[in-house]
Symmetry: C2
Subunit: 175 residues, 2 copies
């Protein structure tokens, strides 16, 4: 069995956690892993078929009325693949932050424009923190590992907001 794709990893995990359809997987990722692990329909549906082909999931037709509906579940092999992935291998960490790139070239900007850019970034992270807190309120207190991940999201946004605010303060007092 070759290595799992990025989308396969989140699909297998979510199926184990109770997701049943491709639509389900999309909805749950959008509410939970979105900020550190995205998945689009263009990946999910083809990947579900590939996983079925590989014998890691099994599909059953469970239409709702005359609307077609494919319900997926892990096979024993899928279960093993999920556990194996969770236990081994390198963790990737990738960031793409356009605000940082703009800041990197900040010397090219008039000071007022640089300050505006820093302010926008600080505001964006503040708004994100509020957004994550809203999700936390909706979901209530989660005492399991997935709750830790949500806490990570909140705290990361807070940390970023604080970092950009600190820079903003220092730029504001500059000549």
């Amino acid at each position: 069995m070759s290595r799992l794709t990025a989308t396969a990893k989140v699909i297998l995990g979510l199926l184990k956690f109770g997701a049943r359809t491709g639509y389900d997987v999309k909805r749950v990722t959008d509410l939970s892993t979105r900020f550190f692990w995205r998945a689009s329909y263009g990946q999910i549906y083809p990947e579900l078929r590939a996983l079925e082909q590989a014998g890691l999931v099994r599909a059953r037709d469970e239409p709702r009325g005359r609307r077609p509906r494919h319900v997926y579940a892990l096979t024993a092999a899928g279960d093993r693949a999920l556990l194996a992935w969770l236990q081994e291998g390198e963790d990737t960490y990738e960031l793409r932050d356009e605000g940082l790139l703009r800041l990197f070239f900040g010397e090219l900007l008039p000071p007022d424009d640089l300050r505006a850019l820093v302010r926008r970034r600080r505001e964006w992270f503040e708004a994100s923190a509020v957004h994550f807190r809203g999700i936390a309120t909706e979901l209530g207190e989660l005492d399991d590992p997935s709750g830790e991940v949500l806490r990570y999201g909140i705290e990361l946004m807070d940390w970023n907001a604080a970092w950009w605010r600190d820079l903003e303060d220092r730029l504001g007092s500059a000549p």
Copy 2:
């Protein structure tokens, strides 16, 4: 003029900052923007030609001996495009963190394996922080915006290391 690609943005900025060849761009990104804005040869060389076609950069042949060498510089239009990008538009922020995804599914793991995963992650961020501090030492004190970005890298790795360490401590004392 259509919008700049991700690679175009870092190329234009670095050419303005003194980079001259595609090789140069690669080397500088690897030492500076790498952790939040990567670029590979497979993107850089084709993009340089596209930018030339679009009139944003101009190329001159400046071979070293009999080794071919293409030196690039911004045109007036390239200069304007760079400044325009720096001043306007949404900032993207994207994260891919496999450690978080594993943690998200952490309920599926035996407690010892979960602890091992958290420990690995904490160690990885600690090593990254050391790596960034090494770069900072090498470059000396930078008082300009690009120095702020390096500081961001160091502090982000520190923050991550502290977050995972805190989780590790709490898991360690669990039953």
